[in-house]
Symmetry: C3
Subunit: 448 residues, 3 copies
């Protein structure tokens, strides 16, 4: 679409993801007691994402994109801005991006949620990049050509009121009074309502390098990559040293409709500043390694991510996770690679579904996933999941997905009494200890 | 507008409704006492609806629509998603719709608020379909041709945080602390933030059949139709049996700016689970009958809707309402019918308004409306309204409306003491008992 | 973009403003005490505005515009509708506008924030027009030709829940619990959720006349203008005369990321209705005078605004402010004037920035700004600022800005004890008394 002054190209687009979730094994859960609500995960339907964006190019060298999610924002916000940036492309293959955009970290995070193999991202990516809010304000330099890409960014907190109210004990509730699982390291004022009392924005340096060292064609190649990040935490205390706002936590959700965080460290900053038994997370470092193989209709992918914690009360505790999975297109298509972001792209079926014998594309996948949020004084629990998936692509812009997820070896037991820890798993999380929840997840997706 | 890959057609549109309201007879109201604010309805102006949508067709057989209301969402939410669906049209005249869309129930509900004869929907439609949120997530099969249509849907709760906090007594407040009148059978977590404690989504089966048994031309025909619905309610209790969240209520607003619910049952779930004197609405059934006649510039329309309540403490109490009205185009146009939805469509003036003698279209209308929310143990009040309207259509996309509404026989008296009821009308509602509020309502509307 | 029925022209556009702020001299501030958070202004980044709009023309004589700000709404709301209007242009050069739009008051307010010389508006404009919310619902008649324009409007409150909860002491907090600085004379229910208890909408009559008495060419002219406004205040009391909601306050923010209001009168309605020592602001009158000179690449601009307060407890107290600044384009461009609104318009560089020696446009500016919110019983503080700015326009739609702001003579001392005042500056504001905060502000802006 050309603009009034002829120098602009603009487009409007969006995505809708309609989800369903059914749960089993809830009967193994203990009954809720006292003022607690039921422990069982909820069955139901939801609009997982409903996004619109405007994007365009002008004066040849400038791109912009503005995207808003009307149901769930980035990180753990109720609704909010995802992308909002300007990019300058005059020195290709180099580019400079300024604004709010996704941090360059992890293959699965770099891949749009429209093109993921499973309905939800794996636990380690969810806990260490997605929930702390991968969309951040900053500036990024990047380089990309057909076989290699590199990107480095200096980033600050995300825009937007998180809608969360957190108390000093690390419990955060949203505007509906529901307890949420993550402060996104965005303090409760959000960057759009920052005032004195909000503290200075935290910041991070994050980079990723990825490439295809073995490359036969776009349907036969090996992808490898590595990411690293250093991030400071914004902790704010009152005049009498009481913790007031800020801090961060790591948590993982497994369901797509019921987003209860089964694993959750609670806020890692806690207690009066400098007091005995207090904790103050100062910064954390993340490191990730990734690899993927595409060989015709078959593909494999795996990642490992570890996060080290530093600050008052911490001795480089390490939280970590990994996953691996394989996928196969029954109808012969290959996973599509986007060299500029070093991530996956849109699948186009060899033949669209129609009433004259067209089948669209059919994909099957199986994977394993592990996350450990227990180390030293940190006890956020530990779990594994095994999952299988079936995806149907009637055409390039519609996708129907079904996932069966089985949770294994979930350990949300409290630490033995007498041991000092930052937080224990809450009553809700403890109820899931040693249960094996099963979930059937569905998604109908259209993007335009 | 064609898309980049040539397979898409997309369009952006929206609607703005700017409203005003002036009230009389407030001097008959008793003065507020104690910590209550004034009983009088407020005069003022408002943006009643401000919606944008993106819609389109791709690969010929697929439609999508995504619409957001930026001032008031569907049901009683502050702002929210209305339509968000994909439709598959390959087997015309059959269609399959998946996503969030309007339930197939009632002629007046099926008609877009852009094309209503009066500014607000009649009380029975408002109480039984509009306020409980006509936009729900689900799947619908439909059939339509020139003279008949039928649709059946399996639906669940609406998407989106309702922004409401409800207490166990059934009082719900929005984020501004204002008391709202309906939980929309959406629990306070909303579907976008569902967690364990939210309970499983409620669901309903709803269907509508409508047609034109007498059909002479598009300006001379008789419309008849019937709707039916069965809906379960999501009630959630804590470990010690206290009511925690969920339930539903029925309420009706008459004003377009001051949306105070004069009639209101309060939450129909109340008290500890299974305790003496507790109520738990399990499900309700709705039935509606509708008819309309178009004869040149003259038209008539009427509907009857009844809702039966079942659950612990209920004995099939019946809440019901009906309305009837006539309309006449002074400038000779006819009401326009849309066969695919069995509802009313856009009016196009014979001649647009201009400075050379074009008048646009002028329409006068008069109607009567009745709602009874009192039966058995339920006391939500009872009222009638008589109203007249004048509409001016300068062209097909702009409309100016004026309505005069007189409320008759409003009965919001408390039940005689000693009788057991779920809820009494609140102090605010009781103040209106036997008063006859008059309202002058205005609207300027543009849709594009 | 043409519409389906060929009678429409529509366009989508938007703006992104990415801001940064760094503060000095915080070490002169006293340390926070007790439960107060730090006094120092926060360093950080923010998305200052992220707006999308739809606008168009149809049937030749009708314009419409709908704009939404996704990060910060108009006035002090968290996010909200800015423009939402229909305009009828058949009797050019006269026009009639109905809906929500900006009040016709002040040269700097009439200028889009995309085209301001400095990053933030001057304090008097911020306190008397911007924060009380310049976007209001109403009707406006206007006249404009090349050298003169006049506009008069009858307006009511803005649309949209303000998201604020205010207590009777005049302290307002947003949904995140952060204290905000202004009720925008929108009561806490907002116009979209008005009910009985909200009171009747307040209203105002506002007008502006501006022109170019000396006019040589579009690059050599003198602009002069005057504005006036009378506005009533909506104050609501309970049955026992306690102040419940409404009122208004005047406040000014200087930072672009940390929007703490250094100057703040607090709510000017306070105490039980009619009680001794109570205050009830009934209405206020504003008057503004403005002038600007463009002479080639050089321009100058100044304004004076005064506001008089009337009501129970007030004796025509006068709050006032003024500013003046000069700007020079190093690359030879002139400031662009838009005759229809009597305000500034988009700068187009003589030559766009490119890698072959194009510099874009470069502008330097320096200014002085004064605001006095102290008079009689009102003590909201007093301050001056001096500032310099550097703007780079690589092309007509991208702008990078840097401002250095020095605050002078800030007086937020409490009134001597024994004197009766409506409100004292809060502990936070008092901490800034006689400090000289310095700020470096940045902005990257794209509009499309």
């Amino acid at each position: 679409i050309g603009s009034n002054d002829g120098n602009f190209k603009a487009a409007i687009g969006g995505r809708l993801q309609l989800d369903g979730q059914t749960n089993w094994n809830s009967h193994n859960l203990p009954n809720a007691t006292g003022a607690n609500t039921t422990n069982a995960l909820a069955d139901g339907t939801s609009l997982r994402r409903a996004r619109l964006h405007a994007e365009g190019t002008f004066f040849k060298d400038y791109d912009y994109k503005f995207e808003y999610d009307f149901t769930r924002g980035p990180g753990t916000t109720a609704a909010g801005v995802t992308d909002a940036y300007i990019r300058w492309n005059a020195l290709k293959p180099f580019a400079l991006t300024v604004g709010q955009f996704k941090e360059p970290f992890s293959l699965e995070e770099a891949t749009s949620n429209r093109f993921l193999t499973f309905i939800e991202r794996n636990m380690a990516v969810n806990a260490f990049s997605d929930n702390p809010n991968a969309y951040r304000i900053g500036a990024m330099g990047s380089y990309s050509e057909q076989r290699w890409m590199a990107a480095g960014a200096l980033m600050s907190e995300s825009v937007g009121g998180s809608g969360l109210t957190c108390n000093a004990a690390g419990t955060c509730t949203n505007v509906n009074g529901a307890t949420l699982y993550n402060t996104s390291s965005v303090n409760t004022n959000g960057n759009a309502n920052r005032n004195n009392g909000s503290g200075n924005s935290s910041w991070d340096v994050t980079g990723r390098v990825a490439g295809r060292p073995w490359y036969n064609s776009e349907t036969e190649f090996l992808h490898v990559g590595a990411s690293g990040s250093y991030r400071t935490i914004n902790n704010n205390y009152t005049g009498n040293s009481a913790f007031n706002n800020g801090g961060t936590l790591f948590a993982a959700s497994i369901g797509n409709v019921d987003r209860t965080a089964l694993l959750n460290t609670g806020n890692l900053t806690k207690g009066n500043k400098g007091a005995a038994g207090s904790y103050e997370l100062d910064h954390y470092t993340r490191f990730g390694a990734e690899s993927a193989l595409v060989y015709g209709p078959f593909s494999m992918q795996g990642e490992y991510i570890r996060t080290g914690l530093q600050g008052n009360g911490y001795k480089d505790e390490v939280l970590e996770g990994y996953y691996g999975y394989g996928s196969y297109f029954l109808t012969g298509e290959s996973r599509k690679y986007k060299a500029s972001t070093g991530a996956w792209d849109r699948i186009t079926p060899s033949r669209n579904f129609d009433m004259n014998g067209g089948w669209g594309a059919w994909e099957v996948a199986a994977g394993y996933d592990y996350l450990n949020l227990k180390d030293g004084t940190v006890n956020g629990g530990r779990a594994q999941t095994a999952k299988i998936g079936l995806n149907w692509y009637p055409n390039s812009h519609v996708r129907l997905m079904a996932n069966y997820v089985h949770v294994l070896n979930i350990d949300t037991a409290p630490t033995a009494s007498g041991t000092t820890v930052v937080n224990q798993p809450g009553a809700r999380s403890q109820a899931f200890n040693n249960t094996n929840p099963d979930m059937l997840q569905f998604r109908a997706q259209v993007d335009f």
